[in-house]
């Protein structure tokens, strides 16, 4: 078992590493990025950036370093200067970047002009990195500093500030969807082809194939706008709590930040997430329950004269829920993805919206951190699913 775990951990580490490299390359190889618009500013007379200013800005974003060096500094927090070994400094002269690239504008084949880097007027050497600020590296849990959203504040601050909001949303939604989906799925499977089953399968199909964003907008439409227009108590359509006090019919004036206020704001996004989840979960429970109910041991249990309730809950359900573990465990990181759309519709200040903001503002350290955290969560979810199998199904053994 411990050998199995060790092997799994190594595999997980490799997968996370590859996804880190892939997403880093994706964000950093593409031109544009944080310097978009700098050329326009340069031509603007009011600011008049000198070449030295540009070099400083490039150094701020570490764009003066070669990509592998930048990546190593992001991942490991190294190199920070010359290699110090045995009281001496090594490799201090190693060129690790270019402080002032020489750019020439060359005509391209289709008659346009293109600016290309043709040389380097001043290189960055390893010894120049001494004293430059650097993160401790992602591997030590330091995701660096935010570039734009909260300039120079640690990315982890940004994420930790948003985490409770996302958890508030997703944990509630997951809990509710489990509580609703499992009984629904069981009932529908036990009463297969009944009127309820037809209604349920149709609704679940609708829910599973309906886009989240449309659900969200529909809910705002019905529960915020139409209710408000009808003079009934309505639900606030956005944000996680009010800024100033507001009055609802019947409920009276509500102070911002009170439990009622927070609850009212949570209802709509949680409802959307829950419905989408219930549709998927319950269809799965129904399918796997039907599969199990056809097994011989269920017939045996019935033939023994056991009560139907015991047959279903003790014999069928326990086996039916085994494959459900995978679905459920993978819903944990997937909730983050599903929450992107929901959070964006309801302007919910959670991690999903943070990701969108980071992409929009080219705040790559934040985007990278979020992507990496999700990848790590997924990898751990896979492991968790496999280990849970071990607990619930004694037939499974890992060597």
């Amino acid at each position: 078992m411990s050998r199995y775990l060790l092997r799994r951990f190594i595999q997980m580490f490799v997968v996370v590493l590859i996804s880190a490299v892939a997403s880093y390359a994706l964000l950093n190889l593409a031109p544009g990025g944080p310097l978009t618009g700098l050329h326009q500013v340069q031509q603007n007379n009011r600011f008049r950036l000198t070449a030295e200013d540009v070099a400083r800005i490039r150094a701020y974003f570490e764009l003066d370093l070669y990509l592998p060096v930048r990546f190593a500094r992001w991942l490991l927090g190294q190199p920070r200067g010359p290699v110090r070994l045995g009281g001496r400094e090594w490799l201090g002269d190693l060129v690790v970047g270019c402080r002032r690239p020489i750019e020439t504008t060359v005509p391209t084949a289709d008659g346009k002009f293109e600016t290309r880097q043709t040389g380097c007027a001043q290189v960055v050497r390893l010894q120049d990195l001494d004293g430059r600020r650097a993160s401790r590296g992602v591997l030590s849990g330091d995701f660096g500093l935010s570039w734009r959203l909260l300039r120079d504040r640690p990315v982890s601050d940004l994420i930790l500030g948003r985490l409770p909001k996302t958890l508030q949303l997703t944990v509630t939604a997951t809990f509710l969807s489990l509580v609703i989906a499992i009984p629904l799925g069981i009932y529908s499977a036990v009463h297969q082809y009944s009127r309820f089953d037809y209604l349920f399968t149709t609704l679940a199909f609708l829910g599973a194939s309906m886009p989240t964003f449309f659900f969200g907008i529909l809910f705002i439409l019905v529960f915020s706008i139409l209710l408000k227009n009808a003079g009934l108590p309505y639900l606030p359509p956005g944000s996680s709590e009010a800024v100033r006090e507001y009055t609802l019919p019947w409920l009276g004036t509500i102070q911002p930040g009170t439990l009622l206020d927070i609850a009212l704001h949570t209802v709509l996004p949680v409802a959307v997430l829950t419905i989408v989840n219930v549709a998927g979960f319950s269809r799965f429970v129904r399918g796997s329950m039907l599969e199990v109910l056809r097994q011989d041991y269920i017939r045996t249990a019935r033939a023994k004269g056991l009560q139907e309730r015991i047959v279903i809950f003790r014999h069928a359900l326990r086996n039916a829920l085994i494959p459900f573990i995978t679905i459920f465990v993978f819903a944990i990181p997937a909730l983050f993805g599903g929450a992107i759309i929901t959070e964006s519709i309801f302007s919910w200040p959670g991690m999903g919206r943070l990701f969108l903001l980071a992409l929009n503002e080219s705040d790559y350290p934040v985007a990278m951190a979020l992507l990496l955290i999700t990848a790590i969560l997924t990898v751990f979810a896979t492991l968790l699913a496999d280990l849970l199998y071990l607990v619930v199904d004694p037939r499974i053994r890992y060597a």
Binding site: V15, F205, P211, F214, I217, L221, G337, L359, L371, V379
Partner: protein, 332 residues
Amino acid sequence: MTPTTDIASLAADAITTPEESPGRILLRRFSRHRLAMLSLCILAVIFVISLFARQLAPFTPHELAVGNYFLPAGAVDDETGRTHYLGTDNIGRDYFSRLVYAGRISLSVALLATSLTVVIGVLVGVYAGFYGGWVDSLLMRAVEFLATLPALPLLLIVSAMLLRNEETIPIPKALLDAVGKLMLLSPRDARQAVLIILVLAGLGWLNDARLMRGMILSLREHTFVEAARSLGASDWQIILRHMVPNSMAPIIVNASLNLSGFIVAEAALSFLGFGIQDPIPTWGNMLAATQQFMFDRPILPLVPGLPIVFCSLAFNYIGDGLRDALDPRLKM
């Protein structure tokens, strides 16, 4: 293509033609799935409307009626006498025309992306399943790896990166012209559509490849393949004549589910602002635009929202119907 459902004609069929062609069997079985048939009809209507977008839409999607913001549905343009069937949007563009053109774009994007995933997926899947080797292990590793990355954030990042550098990505002019013609866009605007198709297909083909690989692996063990080989058939003959036709069922089902997924994915990307951008109409970005006006005009979001839902549902139901129709174990 009227389905023969009444018993008399079925019986007659059974007597006169004891061996139905596979196509007819499929059609008969598919037509039993009432929701799938209904979906087919709805989609046919949407397709025809999109096909004749230019003829049906009274305005072009970019035409600005200055000052005529938020005209009510049915308002008539004074100068030309044309009707705004669904009114105008916040900057005076005809809503109905935009909706129709958007349909053409959204559907074309989904169709092209699906075709691309099928072609790449089948080619790679066949190669990996038949020859194995490094293509096979690379494919399987890639599939496993992509499963660890969350789909939507990945889609957003790739799409954001590509669209940000729209101009620098080389795309053959002929392709842009062709896609532009298909979607009634200028070649310049077609660039965005092409990039979105590439993003969707680029992340979508792995699943088709895995399906195809699985089918090929299981077919390889069948006796008819052995028979073909012993008759001296070449690899290509075996693949093209025997394996590909026999493995089309799951690929077709998956394709129709992909269509639904791509319609939603494109709409979601455009909705979040990482897909096709505003002057070009798509259902997704029209829906996003309505969000800030829906408090005064509550019906507005339904106009671009419902087509997305209908198309997504319809393709899903058709996939469901096809799955049932193509599954020989299922008695219908």
